[in-house]
Symmetry: C2
Subunit: 207 residues, 2 copies
């Protein structure tokens, strides 16, 4: 026979322990969607609280202000993006060709899956404080450097013949970043078709 009272107690304790982090994540998710749809300036703390279904005062328990939420969104996304891509780009057991092929796929998939979190352009540049901007730029730089090093490695091994590893990295990342601006899942091209064509274009640039 199940001791229901103990189960209820366990669930209640688990809930109170998890509530903080879980709610924090929920606030970040709702904020990313609202910032993406309406812009950072046009979204109020009240809008975010309403979307999550909590009061503004509960909200202030988790975040000091809107900038603090934006920073948490950017930091979470960038940290996870770097964690997903950089180890592959540095993996010594794979060839530079394989590493770049996997990077193209991950870059396009993550950018599509987490479109609203990318929050590119002015909101980040203008709405974050210098310290927060520096943190975001350092994560972007870690990714950029890992891509460039894979291209350098491929050039050293004779797999690639890129124009200049630094400039080629910029060109490749800018073209991949562009996809989220126009790609829609309900368009004429499937995501895999887009990934296939961009992989081909990237290897034209590299060879």
């Amino acid at each position: 026979m199940i001791d229901t009272s103990a189960t209820v107690l366990t669930v209640a304790r688990k809930r109170s322990l998890d509530e903080g982090p879980v709610l924090r994540e929920a606030i970040m998710d709702a904020s990313a969607d609202l910032f993406y749809e309406r812009g950072f300036g046009a979204t109020s703390i009240r809008d975010i609280a309403d979307a999550v279904g909590i009061s503004s005062s509960t909200m202030y328990h988790h975040f000091t202000n809107k900038q603090d939420i934006l920073h948490a969104c950017v930091a979470r996304f960038m940290t996870e993006f770097v964690a997903a891509t950089v180890p592959i780009l540095k993996d010594p057991t794979r060839s530079p060709t394989e590493r770049v092929r996997e990077m193209v796929r991950l870059h396009l998939e993550i950018s599509d899956d987490r479109r609203s979190e990318l929050l590119v352009g002015n909101p980040i540049r203008h709405a974050l404080n210098p310290e927060q901007q520096k943190e975001g730029i350092a994560l972007q730089q870690a990714y950029h450097d890992a891509v460039r090093d894979a291209i350098r490695d491929g050039t050293a091994r004779g797999e690639f013949a890129a124009v200049d590893p630094e400039i080629t990295t910029m060109a490749v990342l800018d073209m991949l970043n562009g996809v989220r601006e126009w790609y829609r899942a309900d368009g004429t091209l499937s995501r895999d078709e887009v990934i296939g064509m961009y992989t081909e274009i990237v290897f034209k640039v590299l060879r």
Copy 2:
């Protein structure tokens, strides 16, 4: 002997005739700089009037509101960009290779010279009304289509062997648009060096 009174009169009339358009352009230039530096939301009509050295009421004589100024900036830039590039892309007396080479140079030069007017990203998407957005998108589309047609033409003539003219156009324009985000005249690379390397990368993509 010069009839000074007539000269003064001519100058005075010229000034009153020119004042409108000249001041309008000056307001647009100052606004583009402020929107670029501080963001659209953080710039007030008063900031713009101060930068031009006029009163807010003189300002309202030329523009209804901030959105109206942003629209004028975007429309002027896009119209002039299209006027500079599309005729070259469609020029039947030049080969597709020559047309694309000239497009790459113009795209990078104009983007650098008129950086603040580009006003990319959220300000345009969120701050313009649907009619104004449509106008900007139509001009972007005219440029995109001219690039794609030059690539198609080059493919038909056997000069190019691009993956897909539509996707290749996206990739090429995104990589060119990326340059303004990192290129600085006081960096290690001269503008001509950057143009040279991007031209080489674009032709790798096309061939």
